[in-house]
């Protein structure tokens, strides 16, 4: 029997407390509406992150693994990746993916919103960089972003905090880029380089992707959520939504979810906002079948779950004779290069990629990686090979733009279910020839940079399997209900009180980390909702 969570319907019910759910909750809070957010995970504690402990590296293989199928927390749901060369990685908890993200925080480029117009592929977004520009700035201030103004690859912007340290890795690789005459710039990072809004600055612990013990990494549990809760938003954890329900008029009237005791509950709501990422959102929509919507909710276009975009990733590594102190400092944030970001068809592919320079690994990971790639033997010679690599490495991640293709999908697995019996998502994805060529080009250029920087040895590999961080495109926005799921401000074409604010709504994905753009779009949608409150469902 379904328990009713409260007698009163809430005005706004948000599903998911990650990057976009936090932003939309905070923005809508000033309306004084009754807002409730349901999050399937827990609050995290900084004191429990791995870098508080000596076995911090080992925990990345277990409870803080980025892959939910390995991590297997009670709050995770399984994902069937068998049909994909890229595994979905995520985190389920207050803060969502921002708990374990690297915090690399670039914005999409203006050209990313007009891909069809400029390059004749995919589709244009119905909104532009200029539409989101004020929200990018607002989000940078809310999150606490460090960076440097003046990048010639962007329209003018001013990060609120100075850049995080380049370190020896950044300086060394930057010299390589300068030798080749290629672009580079200190990364915009959602990591505070100075004390900011009551949080203390980064301590250069290293492994941001297992959570930040210092609280310097800007995850939304310590940025947006405290302010949203102070403003009256209610956040309920350990609440896993199964489906969205409809009233007689075909409007969303609430959700059915399982609480922390596994009890089935119903929460009535006037407006439902989905913020569950590009896999979680289509999962719930497809599971919300009814006589009116037999193919899943908001799916008259048939596009819910289709056009899944990842960012195919590969890495090049360089070994340097000089010590670079590689394991110190934010691992995924240092400098970046946009030299090959914009389309140049002479390269053999359309669109482009971002080069993300990252620092080295800790000792355990160095030893394991060295064993796996045959560079550090066990037995005699171990120490010599280890010392040659540890703290002597610089890495370049090549992050490619993936174009939308309807054959890349999120569907419901017919057999696999989570602990509440909800069907698990099934991923079917094929790397396109364009993406393959782009990745090969990027890895070759990355090795070229490392050699120019003085590397004595380089290697590269990709496609990386455990790199499905960026989950985009599975409920795309657009003006035409036949070719999109939501309108230009995130409202479902089919269900007028249902909104989507996460990466699902991306029309194209650009070639860079999307969190900044996801949050800017969520703030824009929230602002548009506020401006249209009187006729929100017209």
């Amino acid at each position: 029997m379904t328990k009713t969570a409260s007698d009163e319907p809430v005005d706004v019910l948000i599903i998911g407390a990650g990057a976009s759910g936090a932003a939309v909750a905070w923005s809508l809070a000033d309306t004084k509406m009754r807002i409730v957010c349901l999050e399937q995970g827990d609050w995290m504690k900084q004191s429990e992150y791995p870098t508080n402990k000596t076995d911090w590296e080992v925990q990345q293989f277990g409870p803080f693994n980025i892959d939910p199928n390995i991590r297997k927390r009670e709050t995770d749901y399984p994902i069937n990746n068998e049909g994909s060369p890229i595994n979905v990685v995520n985190f389920n908890g207050v803060g969502g993916g921002t708990i374990l993200y690297a915090a690399h925080f670039p914005r999409l480029h203006p050209s990313d919103f007009k891909v069809k117009t400029l390059d004749g592929v995919a589709d244009d977004w119905p909104i532009s960089y200029e539409t989101l520009e004020p929200y990018f700035g607002q989000n940078d201030r809310m999150m606490g972003v460090s960076g440097l103004a003046g990048d010639p690859m962007y329209p003018p912007k001013q990060p609120p905090l100075p850049p995080i340290p380049l370190g020896l890795v950044g300086e060394t690789v930057a010299r390589g880029y300068n030798k080749l005459g290629w672009h580079w710039w200190p990364s915009d990072s959602a990591i505070i380089s100075q004390p900011y809004n009551g949080r203390d600055k980064c301590l250069n612990l290293g492994p941001c992707i297992s959570g930040c013990s210092q609280g310097a990494k800007s995850s939304t549990d310590i940025t947006y959520w405290p302010e949203a809760i102070r403003a009256g938003v209610e956040l309920r954890t350990r609440c896993r939504v199964r489906e969205i329900t409809l009233d007689d008029q075909g409007m969303a009237d609430g959700v059915i979810y399982y609480d922390d005791q596994g009890e089935e509950c119903f929460q009535n709501a006037e407006v439902v906002i989905m913020a569950c990422n590009g896999v979680g959102t289509p999962r719930i929509l497809l599971n919300s079948k009814s006589d009116r919507y037999p193919n899943g909710l908001a799916n008259s276009s048939g596009l819910v779950g289709k056009n899944l975009m990842f960012h195919p990733v590969g890495f090049a590594s360089g070994i340097f004779e000089e010590k670079l102190d590689s394991h110190k400092g934010p691992q995924g944030c240092c400098i970046l290069s946009k030299e090959f970001y914009e389309t140049d068809l002479s390269r053999g592919f359309v669109r482009g990629y971002n080069m993300q320079i990252s620092r080295g690994s800790g000792p355990f990971h160095t030893a394991i990686q060295g064993y796996m790639n045959g560079k550090i033997p066990w037995g005699p010679g171990h120490h010599e090979a280890f010392q040659k690599r540890f703290d002597h490495m610089a890495n370049i991640g090549v992050l490619c733009e993936d174009l939308p293709e309807e054959c890349n999908t999120v569907t419901l697995d017919p057999d696999l279910v989570d602990s509440n019996g909800i069907p698990a998502p099934k991923i079917d994805y094929t790397l396109s020839e364009n993406s393959r060529r782009m990745l090969d080009h990027g890895l070759a250029r990355a090795e070229e940079v490392l050699l120019a920087a003085g590397a004595i040895e380089t290697t590269s590999s990709g496609l990386v399997q455990a790199a499905g961080w960026h989950l985009l495109g599975t409920a795309r926005m657009g003006k035409d209900p036949e070719t999109s799921v939501v309108n230009p401000w995130g409202r479902s074409h089919d269900v007028k009180n249902l909104f989507i604010v996460d990466g699902s709504i991306f029309v194209t994905g650009g070639g860079l980390n999307p969190t900044s753009t996801i949050q800017a779009a969520a703030l824009y949608i929230a602002d548009t909702m506020k401006k249209n409150l009187a006729n929100l469902f017209d």
Partner: protein, 148 residues
Amino acid sequence: MTDLISTDHPLTNPQQQTLSALLDVLIPADDDGLMPSAGEVDLGAYVNEKSRDFLPALISITDEFEAPFAALSFAERLEQVRSWSEVEPELFQKLLMETYAVYYQQGRVLEGIGSKAGAPFPEGNTVQSGDLSLLDPVLAKPRGYRRV
């Protein structure tokens, strides 16, 4: 040298001696004595505390390399371990993972490789801010994004 303290050890003394001789092959001490052998680490206690699922396999491994393995020369032990790693690659890899995991947590090891012992937090690390004048050639380049 292990940082672990254990009273109820999961391995018998002969098993511990065998395991120590085995780990000594996986990561031998270096010539100048700066880096210890993995045989000095109490892997049995570590697995018992942190990775208990692996304990039965670890015991069976030590039984496989029963006496007189510990009394063999390094070269003989190396040859035996190499042969076994080819017969049981998955088990070998798991043993290696666990060995590396505990070895590279040891304070003496971390100091030997020039890293800090213990948890990274709260001490953290110092990283130089870097020379932003390196950006001068980048700033001299024309605007690089496409206007729409």
